[in-house]
């Protein structure tokens, strides 16, 4: 395991303190709640999906800095993107933080989300980083709940 301080970079700390897209879209088309029973992290995602695009997305909930920053950066990254691309990002993100990407494979969709790549060295925190993405996946699939149990 590496020094956890490498993960707690300014961007993550700043998004934790001032999360973007925080709140709830009352007129949403998609919605899901995510729970991490081990930590007690919880997250509610609301989305407006139109013409195959994620037009708007908000989250609310409480959790650790990894979870909050992951949700904040995720909402910024998928907003305006086609649903298929958002799903592909979720796939790449999960692969990156779980450390089960094929060696040499790229994560071209993730951009600054690669900030979270250090999570793979903190196995106990992987579920925190993944929770927003698992919840997004559930919402887009039309499932009401996601759990990283």
């Amino acid at each position: 395991m590496s020094d956890p301080r490498e993960l707690y970079q300014q961007v993550i700390l700043e998004h934790n303190k001032k999360p973007r897209n925080f709140g709830k879209l009352e007129a949403c088309t998609h919605h899901a709640e995510g729970h991490n029973p081990l930590c007690g992290d919880q997250l509610e995602l609301t989305l407006v999906v139109e013409d195959g695009l994620v037009q708007d997305i908000r989250f609310q909930g409480s959790g650790c800095a990894i979870d909050m920053a992951s949700a904040s950066l995720m909402t910024g990254a998928v907003k305006g993107k086609p649903v298929a691309e958002a799903e592909a990002m979720a796939e790449q993100f999960r692969g990156m933080v779980r450390g089960d990407l094929e060696p040499g494979s790229e994560t071209p969709l993730l951009g600054k989300l690669t900030l979270f790549s250090g999570v793979k060295n903190l196995p106990s925190r992987v579920k925190c980083a993944v929770l927003p993405w698992a919840t997004l996946h559930a919402a887009l699939k039309g499932e009401a709940e996601a759990s990283t149990e």
């Binding site: 956890p4 301080r5 700390l13 007690g40 800095a65 903190l122």
Partner: protein, 411 residues
């Protein structure tokens, strides 16, 4: 604490714990997590290893010299437990896998026998899940209800509520001796006396108490007292159910199988007396012998000296942590064991746990298997440091500076 107590030679004691001299991720390991699981001293590890290497067989089986010796060691450990907690007879000491299994055993035998539809089970508001869920399962099966003894913001049980909470339908009271989250030492002797005055038997969860204070089940007049080996400098996989002999004799067996029978025919099976009737199958023999050795080790150090040392660390750590702005300690009871749970404004306990881990400081971050306690204090989780007899003030200093570093990072 009495000043007459000779201080522990912690430098010498630490030589018995190789883990506390380890370096992990480039940092010396500071083990402040004995409430999660205590470390075993070398004499315990070596005793178990000797049993497995030179003495291993089964107990209560056959006529071989080896089997007789194994049985003697195994039963000698039971006698050590009896003496350690002041029970009247070794027949009152039942081996279990741990505290959780001991409580489940009582719930599914004594509980099933006593609790009927409409009855009530009274639990304290600071129980570990181990002393909640088995009773909820029983209550659901029987159509009974669970009632809860409330606590103050300091984490002390409100005993005035007992008069009202104990009713004619109360069939059992379950209370933790020392809270694993708050460190509160509950006045169990008084609680038991008040419950008995109303005819209610009491189960005490002593998992966090036995490592820190001298327990005398006869003096407490506990009906059941349960604890685990691994919090008492012993191994995992072994625990103890103490029960008053009259209760154990009245209770039906729990699991069926070998060892717990007197005779088996296709028509009818009869059972041996307590404690044997609760010990089906091959027990964890090395673990029981190891626990016996752990009790020898602690007794030789002196429980009063251990308590004095841990109390000094508790007072010192409380003083230092309290001075950190934004840090709040949960559990400020007058009587506390060496457990400190805290939260820091703006930093989730899991982030704190990871950052402390990065400094080599091993603590528990989470809900501590006590979610109702988290709800009572309106926090999702806490960070918890727990101190044992091998810890030092210097290690407390490392904890404090690691907390300060984390706060600095999150500023």
């Amino acid at each position: 604490m009495s000043t007459a107590v000779q201080p522990l030679d912690v430098t010498a004691i630490r030589k018995d714990f190789p883990l506390v001299s380890r370096v992990l991720n480039g940092k010396p390991v500071i083990y402040l997590d004995s409430a999660v699981s205590g470390q075993m001293p070398l004499p315990v590890i070596e005793r178990m290893s000797k049993y497995e290497r030179d003495e291993h067989t089964n107990v209560h089986r056959g006529v071989s010299t080896l089997s007789q010796q194994a049985t003697d060691y195994f039963e000698a450990a039971r006698e050590k437990v009896r003496r350690f907690i002041g029970a009247a007879s070794i027949r009152e000491i039942v081996w279990t896998r741990g505290t959780t299994e001991a409580i489940n055993l009582v719930a599914q035998t004594f509980g099933r026998m006593m609790v009927k539809e409409g009855d009530e089970i009274l639990l304290s508001g600071m129980e570990h899940h181990a002393n909640i869920v088995p009773w909820q399962m029983l209550a659901e099966e029987k159509g009974a209800t669970i009632k809860v003894i409330p606590m103050t913001d300091d984490g002390e049980l409100i005993l005035e509520s007992l008069d009202e909470l104990i009713t004619d339908r109360t069939k059992l009271l379950g209370v933790v001796h020392v809270s694993n989250v708050l460190g509160t030492v509950n006045p169990v002797k008084e609680i038991i006396a008040r419950a008995h005055a109303r005819g209610v038997p009491v189960l005490v969860d002593g998992a966090q108490a036995v490592p820190h204070l001298q327990v005398d089940v006869k003096d407490l007049d506990a009906d059941f007292y349960v604890f685990s080996g691994h919090k008492l400098s012993g191994p995992t996989g072994i625990g103890v159910l103490y029960g008053k002999l009259a209760h154990l004799e009245a209770m039906p067996p729990w699991q069926g199988g070998g060892s717990m029978i007197r005779s088996v025919t296709w028509e009818k099976t009869t059972y041996v007396a307590a404690p044997g009737k609760f010990e089906a199958g091959t027990p964890p023999i090395a673990a029981a012998i190891g626990l016996g050795k752990a009790i020898d080790y602690l007794t030789a150090l002196g429980l009063d000296r251990i308590a004095a040392h841990e109390h000094d660390l508790l007072v010192y750590a409380t003083e230092r942590l309290t001075r950190i702005p934004g840090l709040r300690i949960l559990g400020t009871a007058k009587q506390k064991a060496s457990v400190i749970s805290f939260v820091v404004e703006g930093i989730h306990p899991h982030d704190m746990g990871s950052l402390l881990d990065g400094e080599g400081v091993v603590v528990r971050a989470g809900h501590h298997c006590a979610q109702p306690v988290m709800a009572r204090f309106n926090v999702p989780a806490t960070t918890r440091a727990s101190f044992a007899y091998f810890n030092t003030r210097e290690e407390v200093d490392v904890l404090v500076s690691a907390v300060e570093k984390a706060i600095e990072l999150f500023k």
